[in-house]
Subunit: 228 residues, 2 copies
DNA sequence: CAAATATAATAGTATTACTATCATACTATA
DNA sequence: TATAGTATGATAGTAATACTATTATATTTG
């Protein structure tokens, strides 16, 4: 993503924080170190107390930025999807062929993030891992409908919308563009998880990427009719 | 599923419990009521204390059956996948055509469970909902590799193995049978979730089922080559 | 009937997920 | 430069969670 990102800021729903973490050094440190810690110990074991200890700050100070760790997770994952959206729009913008466009979008959405942009306090490599391991937990809750109404998932929804449109552009007769878009995003993460923890449940490995699998799936499905 | 299930017991890894809940009335009540409660309040809000209160038993008594609620969830979901496996094997056993076989298997794995078999203390309708809403949480943990080694996911893995084999029988040239099998199971659950909570992220609704979407996806993918 | 086993009752601990209060330091402006 | 406002830190406290331990009582079985 090179230098362009320097000037780009990702707009996050401001109901997700009490005080904008971008507005102070402490705020940025909260983001930076929480990404590291959630990665290391997992979301369940991560607490604001531990975070405070590690950043040499006070638990109560962290609560001035985020109501609870669930909102922090929503903040982090929203940032991630916003970053994905930016990359997708930027990279597909100039492509004329709708097939090439979709191909590129799938690549961006399903590839493993391997380089940290290093322009901000946000480590995208680790954030990608957090999304793989923790994203489902942000919506598999009893509060999901209320939080959806509050707009906490809006970036993710917009992203799937865009991907769905690209699918339709490739095949306007295809009946399940939105479901397929959801499948790409969600199963993209899942195949990465399987590769790491359940290699016997996936064909993805060092040589075969989730991107290849999903690209093959999508392009074998579109512009085809079932014939017996 | 009718009367056949009466005689069938699903074998669960006995490391998942301290004392087999099938071995006593209290154990069965723990299973029965925990299914209800996890459904109502969600896994996060569910505790052994609340369960004890509801079944008029003691928190400490429940700990004599399950070490913690995570193991209980693994027990319940293992049971579910065992039940799925039973249905799948039973229903596909006599089918000669490999296409028909796969079709049937996909139907069984991705349909919404609407009827409780009523032969046991286990309500399959509610259990299906639990699996949709909570299953990911059982493996998205830092302990997943250790627990996988202990065999806690063995039924699920066997099920995906079987489904993968059926895919290969339909198309022996297809390169991603295992990934596709994983996608069917996991995305089957996910499409049900989306239908309920994020209707704008799926094409599934009252008329279109996740089964239809996934069946279409699978059969449009198999026995096809990408051609430009 | 005694012994073994299952369950219940009670208490206690460390940790979590906060909330509240007060002190202090730093910052912006009149 | 004094002062008011804002940010952070320190400390304390609460209710709930996720257990463990102990003892009592009830039930089953040999």
């Amino acid at each position: 993503m090179d230098r362009l990102l320097q000037g780009v800021t990702i707009k996050i729903n401001d109901k997700l924080f009490v005080k904008n973490p971008e507005s102070s050094e402490l705020g940025k440190r909260i983001i930076e170190i929480s990404i590291q810690m959630i990665n290391e110990m997992g979301f369940e074991n991560f607490t604001f107390k531990k975070l405070g200890l590690k950043i040499g700050s006070n638990e109560s100070s962290i609560y001035r930025y985020f109501e609870n760790k669930h909102k922090l997770l929503l903040y982090l994952t929203s940032w991630y999807w916003g970053w994905m959206e930016y990359q997708m729009v930027f990279a597909t913008n100039s492509i004329k062929s709708s097939k090439e466009k979709l191909l590129k979008a799938i690549l961006i959405m399903t590839r493993e993030v391997k380089e940290d942009s290093a322009f901000s306090h946000i480590n995208e490599v680790l954030l990608n891992k957090i999304v793989i391991n923790e994203y489902s937990k942000s919506y598999l809750t009893k509060e999901v409908d209320a939080e959806n109404k509050e707009g906490f998932y809006i970036i993710y929804k917009r992203l799937i919308g865009r991907l769905g449109e690209m699918i339709t552009e490739v095949d306007s007769d295809y009946q399940y563009p939105t479901s397929l878009a959801s499948t790409i995003l969600e199963n993209g993460l899942h195949q990465h998880f399987l590769k790491e923890h359940f290699p016997s449940l996936t064909d993805c490995n060092d040589k075969v990427t989730p991107t290849q699998y999903l690209t093959h799936l999508v392009f074998n499905t579109l512009n085809k009719e079932i014939d017996e």
